[in-house]
Amino acid sequence: MAVASLVLGIIALICTISGYGAWAGLILGIVGIILGTMAKKEQPSGIATGGFVCSLIATILCGIVAVSCTLCTTCSCLTFGLF
C-alpha cells in the first residue's frame, strides 16, 4: 500500500502539469492519500510517509488547477459570447 501510494502520488504530480489531466490527478491523489494513511496506520515506514506527503502535495496542486470555476455554469459562457 505504501508503494502504491507513492506511485499514485507521483502520477498525480505529473497530472498537475497537464491541464486536462488535473481532475484525474485529483482523484489519484486522494486515492494515494487513502492508501498512504492506511499504510501508515498499519506499518509506519518512510515509504508510507513519502507516499502520503507526495499524494497530499499532488492533491493540493491538482485541486488548485482542476477546481477552476472560471464560470459556475457553461451557460454563462455562451450567454456572454465568450467562446
Binding site: A22, W23, L26, C72, C75, S76
Partner: protein, 284 residues
Amino acid sequence: MFPILNIGPFQIGVYGICCTLGIILACLLALYNGKKSNIDKYNLILCFAAILIDAFLGAKLLYFIIDFEGICNMFEKYGFNFETLSNIIQGGFVFYGGFIGGFIGILIFSKIMKVSPIHFITVIAPGVPLAHSFGRVGCFMAGCCYGIPSEKYGIAFTDSLGAPNGIKLFPVQLLEAALLLIIAIIMQVYISKSKHRHITVYIYLFLYPIIRIFTEQFRYDAERGIYFGLSTSTWISIGIITAGMILLLIDIKKGMPEPVTPESIMPKLFDEDDEYKDKNKYSK
C-alpha cells in the same frame, strides 16, 4: 474581478486557490477538534478523503442536473470530445451538491469503518462554513454567482468571465462569505465550550439555509435554475431546514445523550459500606 493569477508561464485560477486554501484550513480545524475529542487522526484523514471524493461527485452531479440543457448545447456546439468534456468537468460546481455528497461520504465511511458518524460530523462541522467562506471569496474573484445590479453598493467587474463587465453588481459573494465566517466562529466557540457538542451541527443546519435564502434574493445569475419562482438552492435550503427540524425532534424524543462530566468518569471515593460515609458515627 481577479480570476487568473499569472505566475511565470503558468496561469492559475484564483477560485481554485481559494477553494483549496479553504479546504486545507477546514481539515486542520477538524484535526484540532478531533485531537480534543480523542479521535484517531488517521481515521479522520480517511474520512476527509471519503468526503472530498463524494463532495466532488455530488457538486458536479448537481451542476449537471441544474445546467443539463447548457451542457447539451455545449456538446452540440463544440462536439463530444475530450476537450469539451474536460472543460465541463473542470468548471462548475454547486455547493449544496458537494454538501450532500460529503454528508453521504461520512455515512459510507462510518459504515465501512463500523464507527458512529456523529463524532466525525461534529468535529468536521465547523470547517464546512469556513471552507465555504473561502469558496465564496473565490467566486467573487472569478465573477461567478454574482449579485443584482446596484448603483449604491455595487462593484463593477472588469475581467469577469461570468458576471457582466462594467455594470455595478451587489457583492453578494462577499456578504455570504462574511456571514459564513460568523457561523464558523459560532460553531467553533460552541464546540469548544459546550458539553453537548453535536448541537453544533444543528447550528449549521438552521443558520446556513436561512442565510442562503436571504442572500438568494440578491443573486442575479439566473443560470443557477429557477423552479416555481424559487431558485434551486432556496428549495434545497427549505429541505435542509425541514430535515434539521425532524432530526432535532427525534433527538429530543430519544433524549439528549448525557454529557461527559468529570464526576461521571471519576471513580467513587467511598464504597456503600464505608464507615466514613456515616458523618455522625464519631460525633456521638
